[in-house]
Chain length 143, copies 4
Amino acid sequence: MSADSAADAADRIAKSFRAQGLMRHLGARLGRIAPGEVHIHLPMSADVTQQHGYFHGGASGTIADSAGGYAALTLLDPASEVLTIEYKINFVAPATGDELEAVGTVVRPGRTLTVCRLDVYAHSGEDRELVAVGQQTLMSVER
Amino acid sequence: MSADSAADAADRIAKSFRAQGLMRHLGARLGRIAPGEVHIHLPMSADVTQQHGYFHGGASGTIADSAGGYAALTLLDPASEVLTIEYKINFVAPATGDELEAVGTVVRPGRTLTVCRLDVYAHSGEDRELVAVGQQTLMSVER
Amino acid sequence: MSADSAADAADRIAKSFRAQGLMRHLGARLGRIAPGEVHIHLPMSADVTQQHGYFHGGASGTIADSAGGYAALTLLDPASEVLTIEYKINFVAPATGDELEAVGTVVRPGRTLTVCRLDVYAHSGEDRELVAVGQQTLMSVER
Amino acid sequence: MSADSAADAADRIAKSFRAQGLMRHLGARLGRIAPGEVHIHLPMSADVTQQHGYFHGGASGTIADSAGGYAALTLLDPASEVLTIEYKINFVAPATGDELEAVGTVVRPGRTLTVCRLDVYAHSGEDRELVAVGQQTLMSVER
């Protein structure tokens, strides 16, 4: 991927992200964008909790799903979009702290189907703990 | 399950649901509660969309996850709570319309582990279309 | 689906099944074939066990995967084949008894992607117990 | 883990592996065993194929499931055993060649639940290609 196309991918992703009403409503923000890898951050607030005040699993799942989708997008040509076919996520530790960070990483790119690994970390001050891991299948479609 | 314990389960679920900041923030509401089956509704709004104005997959996943968790809870004794261990969800049609309805149904109850089926429907006027299906594993813990 | 095309689908499935070396080697046999639903049976033997003498989870997964694939095939035109993109399976009870029966059922057919539900039952004399449930994504390709 | 306990874990795994009728019947063999990581190899033969002569997805799933289970076992005390609760596997390339190698790696160990990553590679001469990736949940139980 040339520097031009990498910058172009970042622009397309930022534009798509701003158009996702749910991301804005939850307070999520885009983080690092690299070929095959995208990060999304979600600060703790009373608007993203489950009944005990932890991050709701749905919040982890939502930012993980979007992070994987954008990771796939970094490796596709500008005329393509991606749809999530399915994902699976394991919650491996209580999700609490200052913010969540979801990392989507392409495991296997493909012209039609892309498979991503999803990792969600909880940050508490300097600490960073893995709280969820997932696996996702995406399909590329013409824009 | 006696009528008393069914009413009691509904009370516990309603209380837990009100304590979930994310459900309130998204505008979700509890629907039908029956032994082994719970429904959650989510009206369309600009706050739950992805970049094309459809319901975000994370919104479907979130209400499906909670519906399955509460379905499991209907079959457990009052001293128990449930944690989602993992879930997997397939998006089978674009999710658009007036509202989503997630249905969590217990497939296999167990003392420690419960497996639920998750179905998400999109309602458009009189139409109801299946838009996502999932499978979920929950663990019961002492409150 | 006409009676002709149903019979044709059954023929194509039987032929494909006979060509699967693993099915023959395990001793599996095709059962009921209906539009959108296929059953596969696997008798108990020392060749399909795990370390405690139960059916190995891999045996359940294998016949469930094939049952879902053939269920998808019943709804496609004769020039199509299916590939398993992914599946997920929960083991909900110890799998023991005389034989396993895997049932693949199409939940959502599609031109490109089909989603199936997978159920595996263990038969012991007259008893039939659900031992595994799964969800599978298949892609149709030109033969 | 001391050298003693590592050797002991390898012994327990080898013994359990020999007791799995399905592994023997398929011709699978144990490979590398390290703390939190176990490899299983499966040579190509007419007994493990699908209808086109590739490795059957069920064969990949079976050795991946066992590799993950044994990987979890390396981190548990000798009195524990593991049960597969569920797994999910994506098939990312046609599985052909001389042999398959499944690698189970513990992502998150836990007293009750362990989550593993599953990778399956196909070897053709010197080449090694990723053909399947999965994610698995296991529960430890008293022997």
